[in-house]
């Protein structure tokens, strides 16, 4: 059993598990932090950005080196745990020869599609006249200025996929529900479990009859909108692959939410605007719910909230229809019937308005001071770029970062100098180290595999020994491009036996409760299922003179030699020997039994626990006699 680690990013994992003749990819997260190396894509021409000094090189064709850890076309299935961890799907399923199936829950598919659509939309609406790839060559990259020079693995950076590719990739998704068991080629069974992190988010159990591997990705124990995490099903795992812990181990989501609200209220009261760069699904639902309660207490009743995204409408509406994937509280609301999320009420009362983009309706209804939620959190593309240009110069305005995926300082870099206030309240509801160590104590896996980042304290806080995994036995760390041999050996395989064959068996009891029978059968293996069938009777020899094919030849049936069991009792055996005229016996005790030296016959009999040897030279009759004497004491099966 092997694990190929294709991603070094602990929260955007991509691992391939080879288990019992299946090749399973676990998630395919897309690390988009590389976009921070690019300039923002403004919707309208930005004189400031275009005036920045450029670096020009002639583009030619240089073949970029390719490094492949494994052939993507050999992947049988991809298991997706949540919509953030599937953004690389088109890169894997398209143009690689991939022919397998992708498994995901319905909300994961639908919201994942929205997020992909959004990114594609953001990219395609500002087409670039030309593109260059030569700079990715190491030799040229070395000549580039600043941080670009030091960027690693530039050759892996790819163009954004197209909508067509997204559709094609998503058409390979097969929907599954929580705890639904999916058979893969009869070899293993996979099953998603609720992970409590986002709508439809799941952990996966991959098990055969005798082995169980758990894959834990982004999970949360907090009471937010999704169904709570299913912990008990993770018990008794041989291996637990642990990824997707919180990226902000020192920032508790509640504190951050409070910080978010007070900074928002403070800015609005002072007459400023608030910009919240965020993804169009996920934490935004909780933010809106929290604000729904907070609006009244902070007397923000009249301040408009805008949610701008090409998929804003779908995201808000999708969240309301996935009732079965929500936490209990929200589920019960549906029966009243009421919309599970209060943002429906915010929309109804006109407090929250959503627009596909800043064009059109929005520009006519835009009122300040206001709060704007929009993407992309990297501040490199999407409508947020426009708001940065619009509001960045006033110190009354505030930008509040809530997504933990990007360093806010790097994100802000191209907008400097900035008068706008910046507040960093990353809200990451995924498990923290305290919670995960409790969880592991509960479910007790035999082995834990995790990204190497989790086995030591964060670099910036090297003294915080509480911010790492401390387990016994220690977890197996992996890094990008590692190939791990998972530390367990498969010992057993299940084999079925056909009823008629079972009928023919004659078991004999060798000790109380244990019976033994010999079986002669043919093993029939199909779809990783092994069945014992009776040996077909030899067909009457065909009279035809046709040339026999080897394959048609029935197996030669031979009655198997009986199996012997039991032990030879020394005293009784000596007595029997004496009866047969062998009197001169010297008994020597050994570690495993006895050696009998028949001195007259110059013969040795070794009696051991698991075997008896008769050593006599060229005296076949004696050997046969002795053998028969030994056999008298043994049982035959």
């Amino acid at each position: 059993m092997k694990l190929y680690c294709l991603s070094g990013h602990p929260t955007l994992p991509c691992n391939v598990l080879k288990f019992k003749s299946t090749t399973i990819m676990l998630d395919c997260g897309l690390d988009t932090t590389s976009v921070l190396n690019f300039l923002p894509l403004p919707l309208v021409h930005s004189p400031r950005l275009s005036k920045l000094p450029g670096w020009v090189s002639k583009d030619g064709t240089i073949n970029l080196e390719k490094r492949e850890l494994l052939d993507l076309s050999t992947i049988d299935v991809i298991l997706i745990s949540n919509y953030h961890c599937m953004m690389a799907l088109p890169y894997i399923t398209e143009h690689t020869g991939f022919t397998g199936t992708v498994y995901a829950t319905e909300p994961t598919l639908q919201i994942g599609r929205l997020l992909m659509e959004e990114v594609v939309n953001f990219m395609e609406r500002v087409p670039k006249a030309q593109s260059a790839t030569c700079w990715k060559n190491k030799e040229i990259q070395r000549m580039l200025p600043g941080p670009l020079k030091d960027a690693v693995d530039v050759w892996t950076w790819k163009r954004c996929y197209s909508m067509q590719e997204v559709n094609s990739a998503l058409s390979k998704v097969q929907l599954v529900g929580y705890s639904q068991k999916v058979e893969l080629f009869g070899a293993v069974q996979v099953s998603p479990l609720s992970s409590g992190y986002s709508l439809g988010s799941s952990n996966w159990i991959i098990q055969s009859h005798h082995e169980k591997v758990s894959y834990v990705s982004g999970s949360s124990l907090l009471t937010t909108h999704p169904q709570p995490m299913d912990q008990s099903s993770l018990k008794n795992s041989d291996v637990l692959i642990l990824t997707g812990l919180t990226q902000m181990p020192t920032a508790n989501p509640d504190g951050m939410l409070g910080e978010f609200c007070s900074n928002l209220a403070m800015t609005i009261r002072a007459g400023g605007n608030v910009l919240v760069p965020c993804y169009s699904s996920g934490v935004i639902y909780d933010l809106l719910e929290c604000l729904y309660q907070f609006i009244e207490s902070a007397s923000l009743g009249t301040t408009p909230f805008y949610f701008i995204s090409p998929v804003a409408n779908s995201s808000l509406e999708f969240s309301q229809i996935f009732a079965e994937w929500l936490c209990h509280n929200k589920q019960t609301k549906v029966y009243l019937p009421e919309p599970p999320f209060p943002h429906a009420e915010l929309i109804q009362t006109n407090k929250l308005k959503h627009y596909p983009s800043i064009h059109g309706d929005f520009s006519s209804e835009f009122r300040q001071p206001c709060v704007v939620f929009t993407g992309h959190p990297s501040l490199r593309f999407g409508d947020v770029v426009h708001f940065m240009e619009l509001w960045g110069k006033s110190s009354l305005n505030t930008i509040i970062f809530t997504e933990p995926d990007f360093s806010y300082l790097d994100a802000l870099a191209p907008y400097q100098p900035l008068a706008m206030k910046c507040v960093y309240c990353p809200i990451d509801t995924r498990l923290n180290f305290h919670q995960v160590s409790k969880l592991l104590k509960e479910v007790q896996p035999l082995h834990v595999v995790c990204p190497e980042q989790y086995t030591q304290p964060p670099l910036t806080q090297s003294h915080r020994s509480d911010l790492m995994l401390e387990l016994q036995p220690p977890p197996m760390p992996y890094r990008r491009c590692s190939v791990l041999n998972l530390p367990f050996r498969r010992r057993y395989e299940r084999v079925y036996i056909l009823p008629e064959l079972a009928n023919s068996l004659v078991p004999s009891e060798i000790k109380p409760g244990v019976s033994v029978a010999t079986v002669s059968a043919v093993v029939h293996s199909k779809d990783n299922k092994h069945t014992l069938q009776s040996v077909p009777k030899p067909p009457p020899v065909a009279p035809s003179k046709k040339r026999k094919r080897v394959m048609d030849e029935p197996p030669v049936v031979m009655t198997p030699k009986p199996l012997l069991s039991g032990a030879v009792p020394l005293e009784a055996f000596l007595a029997t020997l004496q009866k047969h005229g062998i009197t001169e016996v010297k008994v020597e005790e050994t570690a495993d039994g006895h050696i009998l030296h028949l001195q007259a016959e110059d013969t040795l009999i070794q009696l051991e626990e698991d075997g008896t040897h008769i050593v006599c030279d060229n005296n076949e009759p004696l050997r046969t006699t002795l053998r028969d004497l030994v056999l008298r004491f043994l049982q035959k099966l």
Partner: protein, 864 residues
Amino acid sequence: MDRECVSLLPRVCEVLAASGSSLPDDTSLEKLLDWFTEVTKAGTSLLESCPCLLEFISSVVHNTTLDPSILSFTLRLSGLVAVTEDAFTVLQQSSVLDLVFNLQHWQEAGLWEDPCIRIGWIQGLRTMMQHPKALGFFVQADFLKPLLQLQTDKSLFVASAANQMLAHVLLSCQSVSSVESNGVDEEGEDVGRSSGSIADLEYPAITVETNQDYAAVVTAISECLKKSLVPRKNSQLHQSLQILKLLALLLAQTRAPLWEKLLQMVADSVYELLAAGYSQLVLPLMDVILAAHSDLVHTAQSARVLLLPLDIITGLNLLTTTADEQQFSMVEQLKNKTSCISMICVCLTNTPQITLTAADCLPCPPVLIVTAVLSLLRLCSGDFSSSSSSSSSCRDVSRNIIGSSKVQKCALEALIALSGSPGVEVKLPEVVTLLVQYLDNPHSDPTVLHKSYQALVRWMSVCSDLSSITDQHRQDLLQVATKRSCDIRWEVRDSTVEFLGRLAGVSVVQTTAEEVSDASVALLGGCCFTTPLLRAALQDPESYVRASAISALAQTLAASWQQGAALTQEHTEIVNQLLEVLSRDTEGFARRAVVRYFIAWLSSRSSHSSPPPLASSSLLMPSVRSVLSRGSADLDWEVKVHTLELAELLLHEAFSGQRGYMKGNPTQTHPYAVIPDTLHTRTHNEEDVVGELNSLVQWGVVSALLSGLVDCDRPVALRACRLLMTLREVVCPLSLGALDATAAMAMVAKVTCELPGCGWAREIRKMLATKAKDAERGCSVGEVVDCDDCGEAGQEAASGGGQTPCVSVCEVLRSLDLDERLDVLTRSSDHVHNSPFSLLQDILTASSAHSQPDTQQEVIVDCY
């Protein structure tokens, strides 16, 4: 003692001695005992006033089949009876005492197993132990041994009582022997015990004898302490724990020479225990060390032990040298999260005290301790940048306290207390920086934030020189206070608003001008920053926050009131907003705060020496008028009481200096008390009185008082009644006879007030009408004088509908029977139910119901 009760007592005793099962409820015996204790404390001898008790005790003691609760009661009662020497002698002579406290007696009856008998025995003995005879009895009967055994009793209550008892015995030995020594020296020094008679000539022989007894007791107890302190095996840990508790109790209460003797006896064992490092014993051991701390030699030692955890965690070298094994054992202790947190908390709680000890006992200067607390606070919030300890064991320890609100709170409390230590002012900038960081930290618990605010105010008020505070500090604080006033948790908003008010009350010196201003001005720029925040908080959905905002506004504006600054537009708006709150707010807290705001404003005006500026008055008095009318009509009784306080202020302002006016409660002065001359010598200007009374009526003070009088809430009615009586004493004292006695009186009598036809006024009118009827019948007192356009008498006023009749204030004051009303009001509503007489009756009734089962009715006791 009440004669009625005494007459009932014999029958009650009979009932109790017969059977205890028929008691009305299980608290009756406790109540009875409480009553006896009260009687004894009042100086009455129980045995003299209730001779039946002796008979009761002796009959009960012989009847071991009785309910154990009755027996336990009897044990405790015997102790109480024998509390005086005379009664003790009587009991002893009747040989009751020997049997009552005879252990063997109870053991043979198989009753000793019952913890309530054991506790009764201990408590009875303890109550009795007030005189040398009792002590002699104690020693002769050799009760010390069983008592020491009871210390590790399986019942916690018994064990704790035994501990208390042991301490009590030792302490009484101490006081007796010190009296003895004083007696010899012929020095009548007071030792806190009323009877110096112990060393009286009457018992010279006993004294000598008992003195030996005392010595024996002291030696026995201290021997036992010494012996049992160090556990020989694990099962004895509990015993050690108890002994440590006893020791802490003793050391805290004994004096020299006993104190020294004790310490000498146990010192070695304590050191042995310290070295052994039993984790369960650490905390009680610390208590002992704390109790031993008052002596100089040990102070240094105990300070070192107490500071050790802080030294280890922060890595600051607080203690120059420490024994390695001591350090190691402490580190091991601290690695356990629970014990780490409690140990650090004990350490922090005592640091302020340590810094106050003599400098030569301190292992380090107080400033270093403040540094350590600050460093600890940084560690708590996960900031290791300043930590100087790098060893892995210290890291293991530090992780136990990261994010612990308990440690944070303790440390902040310590920081508050340390602000008073000598030479710590230099730390002010660092303290402010840290506190602002705490206030800014999104993960701070609301209670931690509250403490941080308190600490900030405290350090501001102690270090009144703010020259070391930088502009950056000010800006950060401004920012963080603004942010916190928008916090999602109401507790935090509340603390913030409260802080803004408190800060305004702290006066400080600023660098540049050497001018005294308040800290709010110095730190936050004063009103222009705080007032808008506070006004925004008036809209807060949480009533506590609104209330705090109102009081903070009062504190912020107090300075401008005192300086008599001119009114601003903002001021007027605030007042309107507050009046709005008073009439609209759904929660009592906010409305109470509004009334308090006006009380503060009014009193700052009254304390102001020069006459109030017209502008301020022009806003204040009309508002006060609406506050009085709205406040007295409020549904919340506290708002009404506050409103009456406001009325009292006005009353005081009007009449202070007038004859007959006494601030506060007129009934509290003794009828024969000498009235200060000043009150007599003041000229009694009737015209002034008329004028003031008229304005009081106009402001609505009289209406407020009258409506208060008929209020259904007792505290309101009581206060109103007292104030009305005060008013009566000033304007028309009963002693002056008829209202028209003098021309001046006649003028005062002409002042009238309105009695509208609804609510409280109707009640008043009814009362007046009844009084008038009585008066007609009895043909006394004058009639009710009405104003011209109204009918003749109160009767008509009572029946009269639509119009608003007026009545003479004096007439009302005189006819309302205020004195009688005060009498009724001062009694609590359950005074009948709670009397000992009622208790005795209950016991008798319950027993008769029990003895006649046919007529027995289910007594349903409401338990809630």
